[in-house]
Amino acid sequence: MSGDRTSESGPLAYADWRDRLEDGELVGLECRSCGHVTATPKRACIDCGDRILDTCSLPTTGTVHSETTITVPPVGFEGPYQVGVIDLGETKLMGRIRGDEGVEIGASVEFADTVELDGMPAPVFEPVE
């Protein structure tokens, strides 16, 4: 673990990301060298490869970058449900989108909940009125 890291607990690992997601927090990583931000843990920057990454808090509201409603799900899921890539400003994150009508690209959404598969949570977003 690097001593000069400004993050609270060294490199953001999946277990930290998972626990904080379940606590209602979106956290990602910002590359100290080039500033690239990702919304899910990596051990090196996907843009420049540098290994010094700082855990950063991500906004919990964003806009729908792309979305689809899945009608034929994998075994273990019950459809239909909407999945989207959410633009959080500096980075993007995949999640479920919950709502009666379904939302379209460009809609504003807010991180509201999680769903779980085999102990692994995924973020759930809801439309912002």
């Binding site: 009608t71 034929v72 799900p73 075994v75």
Partner: protein, 389 residues
């Protein structure tokens, strides 16, 4: 410059097959060996593509198993897994091996079973396919592979105005082509209304926008250029193989509709071959979903960005169009037995370049491109084949 030569190709029909993988593969392997005029004892190495056998049929370590079944036991054998780009990656390694002189004659092929003949239903196969999405950051959302390509395609629709009707035109075109391919899983004329009436799988994709679950096998014989005329099979030159990857999970991709790996792989393959997109006479592209063909033909430079959606509707990508795409019927109609798809594209293009494609022959086909994509477009292999002067 010629990197290697294909001297034979063969494939099974694609569709349901109630056979063990080794029997299915033997049919394709022997067809390719007979086409090439190559006997088993002339083959130096075996490169196999199989993506899912461990999950679907509890069948792993397949390369020596299949080699044993077809009389090739003892030679170096290896299996590749790169989702749907599995056997084109096996092919890439065989090309490198014969080019560098490590081997003289390599058998390359793929085999897969995905239909209910495996005992697995739609939900189970959908889960297995979803294994190619990110385990922690995508699978828990319930993402499926129709869903993956829906996310890529809807962004293309948003940015360029591509419509569901235009996507349906891709299915109409590939089913039209499929009727001329006796090995195709499907193929009969349909129309846009019929496609749009089928149930939604993941919007914007209807059932008829999606390739089927198929069983099948395919194989080619790859030899060094100096051995190209040593066998009875009419040789076709491999002049470029580009292979690139992109970020997973897909939220980390810089752009969803550009399919960056395909663009980079195409640039690499074209540079090796000394061609540009303008030189391509015929293309086999990875149309696992109708939208994927639109993204592919733009990424290959065959159509300008934003215009790929209109190509099928305008008739340009039909066999007799300006830029024929998927004369085999593509994955959409020919079928998509995952690990067999990459080499099946090469089998089709070999026939096209030999002028042996019968009712689906593209006129004056001299330069051909195969685009084989894996996972959420995170792997793409682009191959340039050329008729010998």
């Amino acid at each position: 410059m010629t990197r290697a030569t294909i001297v034979g190709g063969g494939m099974t029909s694609f569709g349901p097959h109630d056979q063990p993988l080794e029997e299915l593969f033997a049919d394709a392997a022997f067809a390719s060996m007979d086409d090439a005029g190559i006997a088993g004892d002339e083959i130096d190495a075996f490169y196999l593509g199989n993506a899912l056998g461990g999950q679907t049929e509890s069948d792993t370590h397949l390369a020596p198993k299949l080699a044993t079944h077809i009389g090739l036991q003892g030679i170096p054998c290896q299996r590749f897994e790169d989702a749907c780009a599995t056997s084109s990656n096996a092919f890439k390694h065989a090309v490198q091996a014969v080019e560098s002189g490590v081997h003289d004659v390599a058998l390359v092929g793929g085999v897969e079973r995905c239909t209910p003949e495996t005992g697995l239903g739609t939900g189970e196969m959908t889960r297995i396919f979803a294994g190619a999405s990110h385990r922690q950051y995508e699978q828990p959302t319930g993402l499926t592979f129709p869903g993956v390509f829906a996310l890529l395609t809807k962004r293309h629709m948003h940015e360029y105005g591509t419509t569901e009707e235009q996507l349906a035109e891709v299915a109409v075109k590939n089913h039209h082509h499929g009727q001329f391919n006796p090995k195709a899983h499907f193929g009969r004329d349909t129309d846009v209304e019929a496609v749009l009436e089928t149930p939604i799988i993941a919007d914007p994709f209807h059932l008829m926008d999606c390739c089927p679950f198929s069983d099948g096998a395919s194989a080619v014989l790859v030899v060094s250029d100096d051995l190209a005329d040593s066998f009875t099979g009419e040789p076709v030159s491999v002049t470029g193989v580009g292979h690139r990857t992109d970020a997973v999970p897909l939220a980390d991709k810089a752009s969803l509709p550009e399919t960056r790996a395909a663009r980079d792989a195409a640039a690499e393959a074209y540079e090796q071959a000394g061609i540009t997109a303008d030189d391509v006479d015929v293309a086999e592209v990875h149309d696992c979903f109708t939208g994927a063909e639109v993204l592919a033909i733009e990424a290959l430079g065959l159509f300008e960005d934003g215009t790929g959606g209109r190509a099928a509707a305008d008739g340009e990508t039909y066999i007799d169009g300006e830029m024929p795409v998927n004369p085999s019927g593509g994955l959409k109609a020919k079928g998509h037995p995952i690990g067999a798809t990459g080499t099946a594209q090469l089998v089709e293009l070999t026939e096209q370049l030999r002028g042996d494609a019968a009712d689906r022959q593209v006129d004056d086909a001299r330069t051909a491109v195969a685009h084989n994509l894996g996972g959420d477009a995170a792997t793409t292999v682009v191959t340039v084949l050329e008729a010998r002067a």
